[in-house]
Assembly symmetry: C2
Homo-oligomer: 235 residues x 2
DNA sequence: AAGTGGTCTAGACCACAGC
DNA sequence: CTGTGGTCTAGACCACTTT
């Protein structure tokens, strides 16, 4: 018996091997159903999986083609800083530097899509790995969207961890950059002369309502972001 | 009539709104089928989509639970550098600096999983946006996996573009870092004093056979990597 | 043993886009 | 108008895993 996963893998091989070249038309579902001795629905499931991973494009009547555009997606996982460090066997420490309610600078307001001059919760903190500064977390939290944050001291639990626990679902936008550190940052991170920093800026929303904006600053010499993408093993 | 997409969205809302809290058990397929007045298969498709995007976890007999794991995925798209620049309305230029067959340094061999001392094709080139250096492409190509590359001059078509066109499918691994530029790089990119670089290292495979390893170096002051993740709009 | 998800079949109707 | 994909139903059997 051939499952739709089997069929998916067979079709995948044909694309990989170039048997079905990029841009070429592949047989119709009905034909493939005949070939594999199964229902059209089963073939459909296999093809939909391939379409989801972006390897084929399907249009009614026009049929199914192997994609020509060869853009690839890379996925990386954002997790709690503490887990990130502990997973590598490192020892983790958290330090709260400051916590206050302020009107954020224009730049932050723009990122979060805020119009007025509302005050947000501003939390500045440091994360350490094995005793060395690992990350500055400079965060703004919307008290309108997340009023519970007002009562959180953030003295032992980082905003990063608290938010990921509390907020059930979000959309996010990330910016990654290399940069020269600001003097303060250089100080906090205990950076060597001329050492750049790796900056991640993330804004998250809960159904169109901005939740938080954070600037994460890492020493370049000890930080790298890694992804491992396996296009073929999905499903 | 309720399609599986409708059901998917309804269930998604329940997770977003916290009606189904993280870690909680959600009703069985049979129950939901009753609620929505459709077949269990239809509910199954909706739930599988949610499981695929990582929002729920399903185990036979144990049932389906909203995930507690607090990680988020960010996705970015790898595309041809030329398109990246032209899409922003910039003018693109390509310059080949060097092309030779060499034994790569140990570090590259390790990344690509090469054991022997085989010679690879080494191509060094520059990509310009609006006349300014945008990216150094320092690339090694396996002539075993991609023998066609031997006959490519790469004088007008970049390896980046050629490979993305020719190689139908790969797995990839990325490393992102901030770094101080090497003197040569600083020279090629025409960097200001003390300006760091943003480095992407990518290795790709075609079914376990290493295809290529590339080091992409960008001036930090003019480069940022952006992702926009919409957890909810998939499917 | 029993409950839950995983998947298949056979047949059907619809939606869309080329012709 | 017709071919192709998109999806649903009703019923069935199987595969896990927990009890």
């Amino acid at each position: 018996m051939r499952s739709y996963k089997d069929i998916h893998n067979i079709l995948l091989e044909r694309i990989k091997d170039g048997e079905w070249a990029p841009g070429s038309l592949v047989p119709s579902e009905a034909d493939l159903a005949l070939e594999f001795g199964c229902t059209r629905v089963t073939v459909n499931r296999a093809m939909q999986a391939l379409a989801d991973s972006g390897l084929i494009e399907r249009r009614r009547k026009a049929g199914t083609r192997v994609v020509q555009r060869m853009t690839r997606n890379a996925v990386f996982e954002i997790q709690i800083v503490r887990h990130e460090i502990e997973q590598r066997g490192g020892s983790y420490k958290y330090l709260l530097i400051g916590r206050s309610e302020e009107v954020p600078p224009q730049k932050v307001r723009a990122e979060m899509g805020l119009s007025g001059e509302e005050t947000l919760l501003h939390v500045l903190s440091l994360h350490f790995a094995d005793g060395a500064p690992y990350q500055i977390e400079d965060r703004w939290i919307s008290l309108e969207t997340v009023p519970q944050a007002r009562h959180e001291p953030f003295d032992t639990l980082s905003p990063n961890e608290w938010l990921l626990r509390e907020i059930p679902y979000t959309n996010a936008e990330h910016v990654f950059r290399a940069a020269r550190p600001e003097p303060k940052e250089s100080d906090y991170l205990n950076l060597g002369e001329g050492e750049p920093v790796f900056v991640i800026e993330r804004t998250t929303w809960l159904s169109d309502a901005a939740v938080t904006h954070v600037r994460l600053v890492h020493p370049a010499d000890s930080f790298r972001l890694v992804t491992r993408d396996q296009h073929g093993t999905a499903l």
